[in-house]
């Protein structure tokens, strides 16, 4: 039985008296412990898709089942990480990471101990007492990742989490995320516009079509070890080229859509 089962999911909304279909009969099954990268042109509904799975936005039609139960309100079984860090600015990094632990009802001493461990894991131990505003972009996303780890959801929902970072920081964080994923064996839905990132991280890669979003291609990436070498391997380039060819058409379509 798949972890997440989606049957003909529809999402549309009205803007300026026009009905816009964002997702059109999307069907998809996701197995436990898969790392699913999702790429697609701007406005294809990939973020909306993630928000629906997270329970933040409602669906128009279709069915979404998690662990064979229909899913609705946001809950700690699916942990979301946003492109713009959603750390609470009035709390320090440590207090932010403590938050989900407190919601789980852990005693204070235990919370602090665990939060420190998670911050150490993302190399932020020294900055535990700084406020988000005092951290760099990369450090903020590290702290957000530590908070996600502290929440310890079954499924990570990541919406372009590294999109706003410079490329060096991004590559380092990708490697860290990969190591964490290998170690903890979580299921990840990872939306990105960066094909390299999608290929490097994903065990499975979905290409979305231009709006209305459907799945254009579903690709397995079978490399086991994702070291820096993987980035220069023939397999990486082959997949990368294939994904780009698929995506290119859709990007052009999306652009035409925008211009009309």
């Amino acid at each position: 039985m798949p972890l997440l089962d989606i049957r003909s999911l529809d999402k549309s909304f009205t803007a300026d008296n026009k009905e816009i279909t964002v997702l059109d009969r999307l069907s998809l099954s996701i197995e436990d412990r898969d790392f699913v990268s999702i790429v697609g042109p701007t406005g294809c509904g990939k973020s909306t898709f993630l928000h629906i799975v997270g329970g933040f936005e409602s669906k128009t039609g279709g069915e979404v089942r998690l662990n064979d139960r229909p899913l609705d309100a946001p809950g700690p079984d699916r942990g979301m990480m946003f492109q713009d860090h959603s750390l609470f600015p009035w709390l320090t990094a440590l207090e932010n990471v403590c938050w989900p632990l407190e919601m789980k009802g852990l005693p204070r001493a235990k919370r602090l101990e665990m939060a420190r461990e998670y911050l150490d894991l993302v190399h932020l131990g020294r900055y535990a007492d700084l406020y988000p505003e005092q951290l760099s972009g990369g450090m903020k996303q590290r702290a957000a990742l530590a908070r996600l780890l502290a929440l310890d959801p079954q499924m990570f929902l990541m919406d372009e989490p590294f999109g706003a970072l410079d490329s060096q920081t991004r590559e380092l964080l990708q490697e860290e995320l990969h190591a964490i994923w290998r170690h903890r064996r979580k299921t990840v839905l990872f939306v990105t516009h960066d094909i390299d990132e999608a290929v490097y991280l994903g065990t499975r890669l979905l290409v979305f079509t231009a709006r209305p979003g459907r799945i254009k291609a579903d690709i397995r990436i079978e490399a086991d070890e994702r070291t820096a070498n993987f980035r220069t391997s023939p397999e990486f380039f082959k997949t990368r080229t294939r994904v780009w060819d698929l995506l290119r058409e859709e990007v052009l379509k999306a652009r035409a859509l925008e211009e009309n």
Partner: protein, 258 residues
């Protein structure tokens, strides 16, 4: 060095004005109704020495504090409720828009008739005047909260209670403090006017008495006392804000002002 330059820039205009005022005042080049600084300070000292100032300050401070506490808390409460609940919003929005721009002192006769010449009418009009800017700030603070904070909290399993007290309130706090600051200024402004027009006590009455008796040094002394009171209470509020907000205020322009 930079700090010294800032202090210099801050003080240049006031110092020049006070020095010129004093010099020309002593030379008799300034009309008597303007008095001059050393005369005003002497009058202030005299008022303080015979206890009259202290009594007036206590009365005015009591009125301003009580009125501000009542008006601002009502403004925060109703404003937050309006930000969160559509029904409350629909009820209060038109009312506030209509009354916000009206000078609240215009309602003084109503308060005098309802509550008499003493403290209650002053506290009432101060509270009334504080309510509006506070309502507007609190209402807006809720509607401008970053949606991601709410989503993140729900995602981590926050109850509605937790969401309100641990996310909405702290996220709204910077704007609430901005509202408190404006309310506090309004409190002093309206109290000043109310005591000037209809009161048997307080700093405002002292000003009115000085004016009636053509004792302009006394009038300015009371105005100075009023200014000091307003300045000190604003500083206290800003110090409280800096403590309460800590991280939330980092990286904003305002931290420099605080």
């Amino acid at each position: 060095m930079k700090l010294r330059l800032t202090v210099f820039q801050n003080l240049l205009v006031p110092v020049v004005v006070v020095v010129c005022w004093e010099v020309f005042g002593r030379l008799g080049d300034v009309p008597p109704y303007l008095s001059y600084p050393s005369q005003i300070l002497a009058a202030l000292w005299h008022l303080a020495a015979d206890g009259e100032l202290f009594g007036a300050v206590v009365v005015s401070l009591y009125r301003v504090t009580a009125g501000f506490a009542i008006g601002a808390s009502a403004g925060v409460g109703v404003g937050l409720a309006a930000g969160l609940v559509r029904g409350v919003r629909n009820f209060f929005d038109p009312l506030v828009s209509l009354l916000f721009a009206v000078p609240k002192i215009a309602f003084l006769p109503v308060f005098l008739i309802l509550l008499g010449i003493g403290d209650p009418s002053k506290i009432g009009i101060v509270a009334f005047s504080c309510f509006f800017p506070m309502f507007i700030a609190a209402r807006h603070s809720v509607s401008s909260i970053n949606k991601l904070f709410v989503w993140a909290a729900q995602n981590m399993g926050a109850s509605r209670h937790t969401l309100f007290f641990r996310v909405i309130i702290p996220a709204a706090a910077p704007e609430i403090f901005a509202g408190l600051r404006i309310s506090l200024a309004h409190a002093f402004i309206v109290l000043f006017a109310a005591e000037l027009i209809g009161s048997h006590s307080g700093l405002g009455m002292l000003i009115a008495d000085g004016e009636d008796a053509a004792r302009f040094d006394l009038m300015f002394a009371a105005i100075l006392a009023f200014a000091i009171l307003g300045f000190v209470s604003d500083r206290i509020l800003m110090a409280v804000r800096a403590r309460v907000l800590r991280g939330a205020m980092l990286g904003t322009e305002e931290k420099i002002l605080a």
